[in-house]
């Protein structure tokens, strides 16, 4: 399985949660413990080693929050 890494520019996330619905390994969640500059709970990933670099999250993000690397 390919390995990937995603980076979220948290301050421009609007908390729409679309990325959380398309992740095949289900590692994206809304961080309810934090509020970003815009006033939303930002999307975040903790278990990054499970990321497969499919870019589904970046594909569906309306606000270009996500950068994806694959290795």
């Amino acid at each position: 399985m390919a390995k990937g890494r995603v980076e979220f520019k948290e301050d421009i996330c609007k908390g729409c949660e679309l990325c959380t619905t398309v992740c095949p390994v289900d590692i994206i969640f809304m961080d309810k413990t934090r509020i970003n500059k815009k006033g939303y709970h930002p999307a975040t990933v903790v278990e990054m080693d499970k990321c497969i670099g499919c870019a589904n999250c970046a594909m569906v993000c309306p606000d270009l929050v996500i950068t994806v690397e694959r290795f």
Binding site: G4, R5, I12, K14, G15, C16, E17, L18, T20, T21, V22, Y40, G53, A55, N56, A58, M59, V60, C61, P62, D63, L64, I66, T67, V68, E69, R70, F71
Partner: protein, 248 residues
């Protein structure tokens, strides 16, 4: 380690004003990426509409022009005829293109203007607060159809792609949706194909993009993606309606 996805140079660094989960952001990105991949960003002139995407001129990283409500195809016609070597596109919503601007889009297509149109259909007037649009579905509740749209009162929702596909001057007509990563990839392919139709001098091209409006539909963003798939796609079937070789 290779970066396989990053912010396209086709868009400016400006953060959009769109509501959370609004698919305008996805469609802006696809148009920006298409211009970068075709190498036409420095040569492109876009025409922004009136509606939620009225500030599109702040977001696309190319020359942009604002048009009066519905008149983007007329403005684009003038720009293209004065600057035939530039790539000219319009970006319009359903309130703009399918309602107040129906005459302009029909006649721009009819004249075979060598422009490209991105038509964002979310079945509602977003900017003005969720009124019924010509594209609003039967039974869909809006602020001006609080009991749901009825055929008796408002007729059936207008299918612009099917209508435009009957016009000889329209050389490329396709309807896509941006509700899943797979459909988003297909939407980008259609946009690139439509842009190539103009670049090859073949004539008018339009891509209708089924889009969501979580705020005015009264849903979360994930719910609105499902609503699009369950309600819009059955009435507005996806697919290509016209290609240059078929239009001959």
């Amino acid at each position: 380690m290779a970066v396989i996805f990053e912010r396209t140079k086709g868009l400016t660094e400006v953060e959009t004003h769109y509501c959370p989960g609004c698919t305008h952001g996805i469609i802006h990105r696809l148009v920006g990426e298409a211009m970068v991949e075709l190498g036409i960003l420095d040569n492109a002139i876009g025409v922004a509409p009136v509606g939620c995407s009225v500030f599109a001129y702040e977001y696309f990283n190319c020359d942009m022009h604002e048009a009066a409500h519905g008149r983007a195809p007329a403005v684009a016609t003038g720009i293209k005829r004065v600057h035939p070597d530039n790539f000219v596109f319009t970006y319009q919503g359903d309130g703009d293109l399918a309602s107040i601007g129906t005459a302009e889009i029909v006649h721009a297509a009819h004249r075979g203007e060598k422009i490209s149109t991105i038509f964002v259909n979310n079945a509602i007037y977003g900017m003005t607060g969720g009124q019924m649009a010509p594209t609003t579905l039967i039974g869909q509740k809006t602020t001006t159809s609080p009991q749901g749209r009825t055929v008796e009162h408002s007729g059936m929702p207008i299918r612009m792609s099917e209508l435009l596909a009957t016009i000889d001057g329209a050389k490329f007509v396709e309807r896509v949706a941006v509700n899943t990563p797979g459909n988003i990839r297909k939407a980008k392919r259609a946009i690139i194909e439509a842009f190539k139709v103009q670049l090859e001098g073949k004539g008018f091209g339009i891509v209708e993009v089924l889009s969501t409006c979580p705020t005015n539909w009264g849903m979360t963003a994930p719910e609105s993606m499902k609503w699009l798939a369950d309600n819009m796609i059955p009435y507005y079937p996806l697919g290509n309606f016209r290609r240059p070789e078929e239009a001959e």
